[in-house]
């Protein structure tokens, strides 16, 4: 199970900050997340960057157990 980290508006839309999700590619992990958290989350995910273990990743990226999948909506620091 990958560890999901949902931040800012993604955390709010999902109703949870950390979760566990099955799937051996980023695409599969995110499909599970979309199904689990619903449309508001899916809309935010569509505009977000996704990191695997702190590195930007694409749909094909492999995901191993204990990998951290972080969903980062557009940022507003400073």
């Amino acid at each position: 199970m990958a560890r999901l980290l949902l931040l800012g508006p993604a955390r709010e839309a999902a109703g949870v900050r950390e979760d566990e999700v099955a799937g051996d590619s980023l695409e599969k992990v995110l499909a599970v997340a979309r199904a689990r958290y619903g449309e508001a989350f899916a809309a935010i995910l569509a505009t977000s960057q996704v990191w695997v273990n702190g590195e930007p990743a694409g749909p094909e990226s492999p995901v191993a157990p204990y990998d951290e999948v972080a969903v980062l909506p557009p940022v507003s620091g400073g």
Binding site: L5, L7, G8, P9, R11, E12, T47, Q49, W51, G54, P56, A70, L72, P73, P74, V75, S76, G77, G78
Partner: protein
């Protein structure tokens, strides 16, 4: 928030920020210039005529890693830069308080100004931080957002 021995000091903290300790830390016997930037909470925003506080959310390990990268990149572009401190508040920050401090020390002022400007510009685009605006009667995420990018592309 222990004082580091290396010349980069990054922090995300729920505590109020103060410049003088950072400037004292940044000042080196061989440096004559310290430039700082403080971002502060404004009473209005693009979305709301009245703002009473901001509230920042982050992932601390990811934020600290990116702040370190911003400092490294500043030093790569302006090698004379001697010390860089990048501190960001998290949690609720009241009107008039500082949300972020940038401190750059260098032998001369030109590169201190340039590197200071780079650091705050890069921080805003590369560090995972999300801002909620609190206004009378509620709060909402800021709409002043940018897709997060890598430090090398700033």
């Amino acid at each position: 928030m222990a004082l580091p021995s290396s010349p980069t000091w990054v922090a995300v903290t729920p505590e109020p920020l103060a410049l003088d300790p950072l400037v004292t830390w940044a000042t080196r016997p061989d440096c004559g210039a310290v430039v700082t930037f403080a971002g502060t909470v404004r009473d209005h925003s693009a979305d709301h005529d009245e703002v009473v506080a901001l509230e920042y959310e982050t992932s601390e390990p990811h934020a600290l890693a990116r702040l370190e990268e911003v400092a490294e990149e500043a030093r790569r572009r302006w090698p004379a830069v001697a010390a860089v401190a990048l501190h960001h508040r998290v949690g609720r920050v009241e009107l008039g308080e500082a949300t972020v401090l940038v401190v750059v020390a260098s032998p001369h002022r030109a590169e201190a100004f340039e590197a200071g400007r780079f650091c705050i510009d890069a921080l805003k685009r590369t560090v995972p931080l999300w801002k909620r605006e609190h206004f009378p009667g509620g709060s909402a995420w800021s709409s002043a957002t940018e897709p997060i990018v890598g430090v090398e592309s700033t």
